[in-house]
Amino acid sequence: MIEGWIHPAERALTRFATGELEETARARLARHLARCARCRGRVAFQRDLKAAVGALQGPPASAALLARIHDRLSREERVILPVADAVALPTWWRQRAAVAALVAAGAALWFLWPTAPLTAGDSLGELTFSPAAPRAGEAVQVAYRAPTTLAGRDRLVLRARYRTPRDESYNSGLRQIVAAELRPAGDRVFRASLRLPDSVVYAVFAVEDAAGRIVDGNAHRLWELIVHGRDGRPTLDALEQRQHDLMGRNWEQGYETARQIAALYPDRVATWSQLLFYEKNVLGASHMDSALAGHRARLKAFHDKLAPRASLSADDLGYMFWYALGVDSLLERYWKARLAREAPRSPFAAQNRAGDIWFRLWRDKDSLRALADMDRLWDDVGPAHGNVVNLGWRVAQVARDSAALLRWASRYLSMNRGDSLWIATVFTGYPTLRSEGMRLLRQQLRGLETPNSTRALERTVDEQRVVDAASARQILVALGDALVANRQTTAGLDTLNLAVREGWDVALFRRVAQIQLSTGDTAGAVRLLGLVAADPATEGWSRDSVRRFTGTSIDSAAWERLVQESRGEMRRRLLDLATRRHLPPDVRLEAAVGSAARFDTLTRGRVTVVAFWSRYCGPSKDELPALERMTARLQRQGVAVVTITDERISDDLRRFLTEQKLTFPVYADAWREASRAFSQWGTPAYFVLDADGVVRFQYRDLDRVPAEVAALQ
């Protein structure tokens, strides 16, 4: 038919796309579109365009804008609005008005809630320094008023972590030193003097008894010294090191520090880029809406100042790029391009280059090319940025190339010494690398006892022992697995037996039992299976299951006795691992649009499971059905369950819950108070609280929750 081959007028296509063609013409055009890719493309273009333009957002509804409105109102300015002969609302708008009002209501709630007060725990003793704001290299007098637990000793130990301007974020690689011995000076007061090394700009301290069994770490906040300059202000290096030290330890104080830097050193791009980083992480998206306008204006001012300069430092280029990221996409591209051109070997650019290679691998699935690109990048930039080795090591794993794995592992370890267990475990999965992996594991096992120099300041010697024991179990499991895979079954079994002696890992118990059976150690296997049956997560494990599993028979009374004993064993082992962390009061959650709930009223007097989840996080989403099943069971036992999601309560979220058949109680961390209280920044994460509301267990593993609840009930 010829009508299919004559292109319709463009206006007709436009009207087709807007749904304004009358029925006959519409049907005729639809027939044409079925055959004509060109015209189909035009209609699709118009529809895509409509969607894309509709998604364009205006400037943020900032507090500054509201302030200007009030300012004009207070000056009694008059604006006559064009409200006469109102045009009727467009149809679709009338339909959506109710929904939009609901969404806007949620936004209003977000803005209106007062900022949460920062929380702080109670300290036991009190450590003071004189001068409190020392210069570099200055002598400092220390006085410590001891709590009853530490009073009456003939000496106390002042431990410290010193930081110099070049030290990195987080505290994993840093050594702790004994800064001074505190001697009694009467009335529970201890004194010492110390001199800060010239290079030290920031230091944190804790006080402990001589054996390291009682530690006063100022309720995990530690005490600190910040080196000041001649002008009496904290030096930039000192504040930056404070920020690095607080990373992962106390986000709130990190944010406070970023604000302090912004107040004292506002002329650097890095200052604002870092402040933005903290605002995003600590305050969340709600506050960002109002903060972004200020950042856009400041970014623009920096851009206007720096862009015309032909020569800029790698730091300026890098921080301009980081600052623009998420604030202004146009400037982000501009500075990314300049960074790549002008400082290609700088840490910022090296990270971007590694990211681009990783992205191409993900897109093209060409792991050999990606590996060659990563090696070339390493030759060019070396250990410029941690993400170069992180991604290189991951590319080598995707490529499954043993030589590359060895090469990248050694590069990786040169920058991340703490992660050798991970490297070793990956190695044991490759037959050609297994013996190297086992060598690394044994080496780690030998070096496991943590020396005092790396024991965390706020951790006692006993707490460190628990941590070390857990690391040892992990290494033993990896080593035992590797030995069994290497057909050294007896040695593997002995190693695994060491790993199952303490701790609580049902999957490991079952696996070791299986290996024991294969070697004829039925008694050992039955003992472990008793532990498996004691765990509430393995409901349904009965002596029949054991018979099916082991092929041996055990009488009812003996089995019941074994399971009963194993329950006691489980409780003991789990409580050995438990912590005690008090939560601040007044943590609020959003219960539904327009209502808030206080966290403690949800939990009081009951053992409580808290689950942080996100439907946008794959692993977290996968566990939601299991969480739903577990909730029903726990609630029958009188356990409170509080699940906290990372988005606001909305109709869309409700639809998601209905579609997924999820009925557990859902709250939103609308003010980030829960994340802060739990020091929790990822999903999934599960916490078990005792009946007093104290956090006793925290894991990323849902399967452990029923056993932990049972241990606390």
Partner: protein
């Protein structure tokens, strides 16, 4: 299983638009804040898409809220307040575009130039391309395009608002789309 614990209603959240409007009419300026937090975001979007300038959008929305206490005296509660507010915003934005036309101002945001050295991520930044393309539209075409395609008004309604004939509105929409297709490089 009943819901866990009591739910504490948030005071201002219980108030609907009608209550806030009534409060504002009675001179309670805190109600203006509540209405701002509730509606300003979407109104800024409407004004920005129409005027193509963040500064103009802010000015328009400022005017809307500054004029609101007085305008509410004449506001008859027919239909949704949010819709009424949106219509007022559209009218103010159009008015601003007309005045800008007379002064021959070009919205600031359209003067942004692409960095010549950065062609590696071509096509990645859709927003940038889109805003650049929209900036090439004369205000007369831009207004019709936004009102029809984004705000959802009919050609008859647009004609009434802009003081043009219905057919003119249709022609302008068609021309706007043709221009955008050309600028955005869609050859289809």
């Amino acid at each position: 299983m009943p819901a866990l614990g009591p739910r504490i209603p948030f005071d201002s959240e219980r108030l609907d638009d009608a209550t806030l409007v009534e409060r504002l009419r009675n001179g309670d300026l805190r109600a203006l804040d509540d209405l701002f937090h509730r509606h300003a975001h979407s109104l800024l979007g409407v004004a920005y898409r129409l005027t193509g300038s963040a500064a103009d959008a802010e000015d328009v929305v400022q005017d809307v809220f500054v004029g609101l206490p007085v305008a509410l005296r004449r506001y008859a509660e027919r239909g949704s307040f949010a819709g009424w507010l949106r219509t007022v915003t559209v009218r103010l934005a159009l008015d601003r575009m007309r005045r800008r036309e007379r002064r021959r101002e070009i919205p600031l945001d359209s003067t942004v130039e692409r960095d010549a050295g950065d062609s590696s991520a071509a096509g990645a930044d859709v927003r940038w391309e889109l805003e650049r393309a929209l900036a090439t539209l004369p205000d007369a075409l831009r207004a019709v395009f936004m009102l029809k395609e984004v705000e959802g008004y009919s050609h008859a309604e647009i004609g009434q608002m802009l003081g043009i004939r219905r057919g003119t509105s249709e022609v302008r929409l068609h021309r706007a789309i043709r221009t955008l297709r050309r600028v955005l490089g869609d050859q289809g």
